[in-house]
Structure formats: structure tokens, C-alpha cells
């Protein structure tokens, strides 16, 4: 009954070390996936918001206001329940009876992606606004096509200006993955909950989960800061 902390957290047959580590891997996968989906949506959102067509701008504004104004957990529920309703309808129409649901990881990546996309929209938009218009004019005066302008002038500078904000968004995406425990994804928090339930040591296991979130955040934050420094080199005089 009485097991030491080292045994509980160890990698032995009774230890929770391995399950917790692999759950941390799931957390990292969900966060990375969500962030990448969010980048895609963020770029589209920024393009919409910077568009000359009022209707497109309106869509962009609606996207960012809506998904930044309501709790993330509701969006997770929307994708969780909504996804299975839509999928079941499609499958039933296709002649396959029964109930269908999407894998929790996919739902999580999509839900987190949609939310972080709204925040990333703002990051890319403000970064784009900081571009020096003169450089764009100079570029087109040199005969660069729109694609070349995008590749040589717009993309590298926008990325560099957006990076600090993107770093913050990454940190909140990482923390948001904890919400996916409620839809049954065995990420860090859920695994810690399982361990806490079976050993009756909630303080220890939720504490360990907290520390692991801190460590992942610190390590990834370190690399983001290094990239930031690296990209800033070209601008330092």
C-alpha cells in the first residue's frame, strides 16, 4: 500500500513514469498540431482582415471576435459533439447505419487550431501592418512579381515581427491542451488524473503534471527566444 514517491513516479511495473511521459508526448503533439492548424487559419484570417473587400473584412472580424470572446471549452464541446453529429449524418446518408465519432486527438487539434487561429490572425495582421511600405514599392519598382515580393520581403519580415506574439500564443496553446482531457484524450492532465485516482495521490500527480507543463513551456520557450534572436540578427546594426 505504502509506496515511495520514487516508486510511484518510476519506470517500474507499478510506476507511472512511462504513462506520464507518453502522455506528455500526446500533449506536445496536440499542441503542435493545434498551433499549425491555427497558423494556417491565422494567415487566412489576416488576409481576410487586410482585404479591400468589406464583406471579406467582415468575415475576418467576425472570426476573431467570435473565437476570442467565448470560452475555449465550449469550442472543444462544439467540435466533440458537433463533429460526431455531422459525421454520423454523413455516414447514415452514405448508407452506413450507426453512430460515428472522430478521434479525440483530431477533435482537439481542430478545436485548439480554430481558437489559436483567431489569436494568430491578430499576430500576423499587426506584423504585416508594421512592414515598411517603401520596401514594397521598391520591390515592385525592381520588377518583382507579387509572389516574389511575398517570398522575399513580406514573409520574412512579417514572420520576424510576429514571432514574439506567436511565442505567447504557443504558450497558451500548450496550456489549452489540458482542456482536451474532458473529451477523453489521454494527454498529461488526464493521465495524471488516472494515476491520481488509482493511487489516491492527487496532490502528487497533479503537481507532477503542473511541473511537466512548466518544463515543456520553458524548453519550447527557450527555442522560440533563440529563433527570435537569430531572426533579429539581420536587423541589428
Amino acid at each position: 500500500m505504502t509506496m515511495g514517491i520514487t516508486e510511484l513516479l518510476g519506470f517500474g511495473p507499478q510506476g507511472w513514469g512511462m504513462p506520464l511521459l507518453s502522455a506528455a508526448g500526446i500533449t506536445l503533439v496536440a499542441a503542435t498540431g493545434g498551433f499549425l492548424v491555427g497558423s494556417l487559419l491565422g494567415l487566412c484570417g489576416a488576409a481576410l482582415k487586410l482585404s479591400r473587400t468589406p464583406a471579406l473584412r467582415w468575415i475576418g472580424n467576425f472570426y476573431t471576435t467570435f473565437f476570442r470572446g467565448i470560452p475555449e471549452i465550449l469550442i472543444v464541446y462544439l467540435f466533440y459533439f458537433g463533429g460526431s453529429v455531422v459525421l454520423t449524418k454523413i455516414m447514415n446518408l452514405g448508407g452506413l447505419p450507426g453512430f460515428f465519432s472522430l478521434p479525440a486527438l483530431l477533435i482537439g487539434v481542430l478545436a485548439i487550431g480554430v481558437v489559436s487561429g483567431a489569436y494568430q490572425t491578430e499576430a500576423y495582421r499587426t506584423a504585416f501592418m508594421r512592414l515598411d511600405r517603401g520596401q514594397l514599392e521598391a520591390g515592385s519598382a525592381c520588377g518583382m512579381s507579387r509572389f516574389l515580393l511575398l517570398r522575399r520581403i513580406i514573409a520574412p519580415q512579417t514572420l520576424r515581427f510576429a514571432l514574439p506574439a506567436l511565442g505567447n500564443i504557443w504558450q497558451s496553446v500548450l496550456k489549452e491542451t489540458a482542456l482536451l482531457s474532458v473529451i477523453g484524450l489521454t494527454e498529461l492532465l488526464r493521465q495524471a488524473g488516472t494515476a491520481a485516482g488509482s493511487t489516491r495521490e492527487p496532490l502528487l500527480f497533479y503537481g507532477v503534471a503542473a511541473v511537466m507543463f512548466l518544463v515543456i513551456g520553458r524548453i519550447t520557450g527557450f527555442f522560440i527566444a533563440r529563433t527570435e534572436k537569430h531572426l533579429a540578427k539581420a536587423w541589428s546594426r
Binding site: E72, G207, A210, L214
Partner: protein, 231 residues
């Protein structure tokens, strides 16, 4: 096509949870702000231990998910026998106070950083001018530092308030029936996901938009002396 009577029924049920959502937000912001002032003061203190504790507090509560903090408090604290015997236990046994405590601790870390940033952003020239006029200590803070810091920090604090409103939704996971808790129950009992989601989303948007509006009105009042800058 749209089943208005169902939407209105959903709205009525959700509105019953709105007071709890607002109460959780209000309580945790109030307690969190008081804690944040203490933490910010400790972070700016000359005593190294105070600075260290304050930095740890900020790092811990900003670096971990709010849900982990809620679980640590709700499930974890009961494990400490000394706490179970103390006068605090009648409070900490209740999910309501656990949620308030977790939310307050969480916002205190963010708010402490907002306060620190706002005070640091007070222009040195203003402080020098005040010192040259003979102000120091409390008078300098009351007349110069705090009013300027308030103006600097208010917009950021406004988004922290909105984050807190959204954060209270996690209290539903530890059985509290605030707006999200009711929405979840409605979704799982009626399975009309999209309708319930739209109404719940609209309700949260309304609350967050009104909060944003209130903050910008206060901001405008505080910056009345800059009014000429607007066209």
C-alpha cells in the same frame, strides 16, 4: 426553419447560470487583485527572498494550465490532514470556493505582471519632475506613479478581465452550474449542439463585449486630458 421557442428556452435556462458566472468572475478578480498588489510589491522589494517568492508565484500560475490548478486545489488540498482539520476546510470542501481560489490565484499572477509593467512604464521624467517639486514616498505614488500606471495598465487589465470571464467556464468541470455547465447539460440532454452553442456563444460574447465597452469608457474618462489628440 429556426426553432425560436427552443432558442428562447435555452437562453432562459442559461440566464439562470449567469449570476454564478459573474459572481465567480467578480470574486476572483477582487481577491486576485489584492493578491496581485502584494505580489507586485514583493517583486519590487529590496529583499531577495520576497522577490524570489513573487517570481515563483508568477511563474507557477502563468506557466501551468488553469484546469491543472483547479484540480490541484479541488482534489489535492483534501489530502493534507492539517488542512482538513483547520477552519478553512468548510470552505475548501466546496467546489465553489475551490474555483474562486484557483481563479483568484491564477489572475493574481497575470495581474501582478500587468501592475509591474504599468509601473515600469511611468516615464522617468515625470518622477524626476515630481521629485524636483519635493514629492516623495506616498505622495509621489498617489499623485504621479499610480494615476499614470493606471492609465497604462487599464487596457491590458481589460483583456485580463475578459480572460477571467472565459476562465470561469472551467468551474463547470468541478460540478458548478454556471453558464457553461448548464450549456453542457443542455447539449447532452437535447443533443441540439449547434443551437445551444450559438445561444451560449452569443451570451458570452455579449458579456465580454459589454465589459470591453465599459473598460474603454473608463479609459476615455481617465484620458480626458488627451482628448485633443482625437479628431
Amino acid at each position: 426553419m429556426i426553432d425560436w421557442s427552443f432558442l428562447i428556452e435555452v437562453l432562459q435556462k442559461l440566464l439562470a447560470g449567469l449570476p454564478l458566472t459573474l459572481q465567480l468572475t467578480g470574486f476572483s478578480l477582487l481577491i486576485g487583485f489584492i493578491l496581485a498588489v502584494i505580489v507586485a510589491a514583493a517583486a519590487a522589494s529590496r529583499i531577495r527572498v520576497f522577490r524570489w517568492v513573487a517570481n515563483c508565484h508568477v511563474e507557477l500560475f502563468r506557466g501551468t494550465p488553469l484546469l491543472v490548478q483547479i484540480f490541484l486545489i479541488y482534489y489535492g488540498l483534501g489530502q493534507i490532514p492539517e488542512l482538513r482539520q483547520s477552519f478553512l476546510w468548510p470552505f475548501l470542501r466546496e467546489p465553489y470556493w475551490c474555483a474562486v481560489l484557483a481563479l483568484a490565484l491564477n489572475t493574481s499572477a497575470y495581474t501582478a505582471e500587468i501592475i509591474r509593467g504599468a509601473v515600469q512604464a511611468v516615464p522617468a521624467g515625470e518622477i524626476e519632475a515630481a521629485r524636483a517639486c519635493g514629492m516623495s514616498g506616498f505622495l509621489l505614488r498617489r499623485r504621479i506613479i499610480w494615476p499614470i500606471a493606471l492609465r497604462q495598465g487599464l487596457p491590458v487589465y481589460g483583456s485580463e478581465i475578459i480572460l477571467m470571464i472565459k476562465g470561469t467556464s472551467l468551474a463547470s468541470i468541478i460540478t458548478l452550474n454556471e453558464v457553461t455547465g448548464i450549456a453542457y447539460k443542455l447539449i447532452s440532454s437535447t443533443y441540439r449542439i449547434f443551437e445551444v452553442f450559438i445561444v451560449t456563444g452569443a451570451l458570452y460574447l455579449l458579456v465580454t463585449a459589454l465589459t470591453g465597452l465599459a473598460i474603454s469608457l473608463i479609459e476615455r474618462r481617465l484620458n480626458v486630458h488627451h482628448a485633443y489628440r482625437r479628431t
